[in-house]
């Protein structure tokens, strides 16, 4: 039997994650890799929402904020293990997404964009203003996950950077697997159908409101887990994780890499996490060049990096 597209994608991603460290000039790159994977997880959720279902959100960092602060607060206030706090954050984010998604997802296009934007701003305001609980704009320490020492006790000794590289890499791969499963499943087809024609999707029996809501909840859980991982990895978190800029960054990575494609969005996350690092040698021109590259890619590769490259390869091959 031929290898399916899904398995091929997963194998390529897994090989890249596993082999990349062989080319790292220094240990610092484990951290860059982990940041890429944390972003990769969040953008995979956005592929489900924007790429599959065709619904925009400019407030998904709000869910990352819920996930991050669940890990920061639940161990202290509820005595939960940080791993369980991560789950609690995911459930909370899913629940909030379900509640606000019902009224919000009736909106379309820029109306939906503004409504989700409002949600993101709301979350970051609460996190910044409830200083007694959250530590306010100065941020807050996060408890140690404790998994690394558990691994060390069974003979798997990893440096902190290596551990987080592996943990976030595996999380991102699991996230990609789930999103790729969805893509080719009955629910995924229905989502992509309503993206292309809502009226036709309805007439074949798709419950459009319910499916949009599912996509919104799923993507919120992805963002939440990404925020949790970031908090646990950094052992420190500020309300910026829920901020407007982070929301925009995530959408930009998704669209830049290829909004309908899981590996595309991950490539987008990798490129836009790496580029600023690589461009620091340009000093004051860094942002100028970064902006220019983004504009040129979107002008000449309007489907995003990966889908455009694939199309060109196929066209020639």
């Amino acid at each position: 039997m031929r290898l399916s597209q899904k398995h091929l994608t997963l194998i390529v991603l897994a090989v890249l994650v596993a082999l990349a460290p062989a080319f790292f000039p220094s240990n610092f790159y484990y951290r860059i890799g982990a940041l890429i994977f944390v972003n990769g997880l969040a953008v995979t959720g956005l592929v489900v929402l924007i790429g599959f279902a065709g619904q925009i959100s400019l407030g998904h960092a709000g869910f990352a904020g819920i996930g991050a602060y669940a890990c920061a607060l639940a161990p202290g206030y509820l005595g939960l293990h940080p791993g369980l706090a991560m789950l609690l954050g995911a459930v909370l984010s899913g629940g909030v997404a379900w509640l606000i998604g019902r009224p919000i997802l009736r909106l379309k296009g820029y109306y939906l964009a503004v409504a989700t934007l409002g949600f993101g701003i709301l979350v970051s305001m609460v996190l910044a203003n409830e200083a007694k609980i959250t530590g306010g704009p100065d941020g807050r320490e996060v408890a140690e996950l404790g998994l690394r020492s558990a691994l060390a006790s069974i003979g798997i000794g990893l440096s902190n950077a290596q551990f987080w590289y592996a943990a976030t890499g595996l999380s991102m791969l699991a996230g990609a697997w789930i999103a790729l499963n969805l893509h080719d499943s009955p629910s995924g087809r229905a989502l992509r159908a309503l993206h292309d024609s809502e009226v036709a999707a309805r007439t074949v029996g798709v419950d459009v409101a319910r499916l949009k809501l599912s996509a919104f909840v799923i993507s919120a859980v992805y963002a939440s887990l990404s925020g949790s991982l970031l908090a646990l990895m950094n052992r420190f978190i500020t309300p910026d994780v829920a901020g407007f800029l982070h929301s925009i960054e995530l959408v930009t990575m998704t669209v830049f890499g290829g909004v309908g494609s899981v590996p595309g969005a991950i490539l987008g996350a990798a490129t836009l996490t790496l580029l600023p690092q690589a461009l620091t040698v340009l000093q004051q021109y860094e942002n100028l060049i970064l902006g220019l590259i983004m504009m040129l890619v979107m002008i000449f590769m309007r489907e995003g990096l990966l889908p455009s490259i694939m199309r060109r390869l196929k066209g020639k091959g």
């Binding site: 789930i178 499963n181 969805l182 080719d184 499943s185 009955p186 629910s187 995924g188 087809r189 229905a190 992509r192 159908a193 993206h195 292309d196 024609s197 009226v199 036709a200 999707a201 309805r202 007439t203 074949v204 029996g205 798709v206 419950d207 459009v208 599912s214 799923i218 309908g260």
Partner: protein, 261 residues
């Protein structure tokens, strides 16, 4: 034995009465055509019956139940399926996936099992794939099944919509100009397909400008003009009706046989 009946159906858009007081009925296995000049209100009538528009007046009765104003997906659950005059294809999906989406009601299941690709989810997809492949063969698109839908010709897309609509295994099928933009051979194929589907017991409501086709396959014809029903009856009687001929005057004669408009 009536499957679908509409009674006194009407809707206005601003000051314009697009459809007014239209009524008729369709039985299983019967082909009823709705004809009329451009802008007569045929598509609007379909949109009201299929739940895309909310009727402002009148009733739609499906299998004895009042379904007026039900959402399209609810009507689909009750066995009503349709195609669109102005193509509503899922452009970014493959031809096969378009047909598979027509099986949504049969293949849908818990989202969680789809996310984890549980055996039940894969089984549902596999059944759908087989069924959609059969349907594509039936409309002559089997060889294009892996292509992106947007790459098909207009005539092929028309047939793809029919395949998708048939995938619901409907009890009543609404076809809005299925042969528009198709060449003579394609039109004949569609003609056969419709007759065959009707023979299997599906009630068919057809809007078509190709009068040859309408006269040949319809059991009953409803004529609309400016939103009102001006005549109805057997094809032979309708084509001789002076009111019908007058409605078409200035455009083309009903018996001329070619597409009007």
């Amino acid at each position: 034995m009536t499957l679908l009946s509409v009674d006194g159906l009407g809707i206005d858009f601003g000051g314009l009465t697009a459809v007014n007081d239209v009524g008729f009925s369709v039985s299983p296995g019967e082909i009823v055509s709705v004809i009329g000049p451009n802008g007569a209100g045929k598509t609007t009538l379909f949109n009201m019956i299929s739940g895309v528009y909310q009727p402002q007046r009148g009733k739609v009765i499906l299998d004895g139940a009042d379904v007026t104003g039900l959402a399209p997906n609810r009507l689909a659950e009750r066995g009503l399926s349709r195609t669109f005059q102005n193509l509503q294809i899922f452009q970014r999906m493959s031809v096969l996936e378009n047909a598979m989406t027509g099986c949504h009601l049969r293949e849908r299941g818990p989202v969680l099992s789809d996310l984890l690709s549980l055996p039940s989810s894969r089984r549902r997809s596999a059944v759908t794939r087989a069924r959609a492949t059969e349907l594509l063969e039936r409309v002559g698109l089997a060889r294009a099944s892996e292509r992106e839908a947007s790459s098909l010709s207009y005539g092929a897309l028309k047939r793809l919509e029919i395949a998708r609509a048939l995938a619901l295994e409907p009890r009543i099928l609404l076809l809005d100009e299925p042969a528009a933009g198709c060449n003579a051979v394609e039109t004949e194929e569609i003609d056969h397909l419709i007759a065959e589907v009707a023979k299997s017991g599906v009630a068919i409501l057809l809007v078509e400008h190709d009068m040859k086709m309408v006269m040949r396959i319809s059991r009953h014809i409803v004529v609309l003009d400016r939103g009102e029903k001006i005549a109805e009856g057997a094809p032979a009687a309708v084509s001789r009706d002076p009111k019908v001929i007058e409605a078409y005057l200035g455009t083309q004669s009903v018996e001329a046989g070619d597409a009007v408009g």
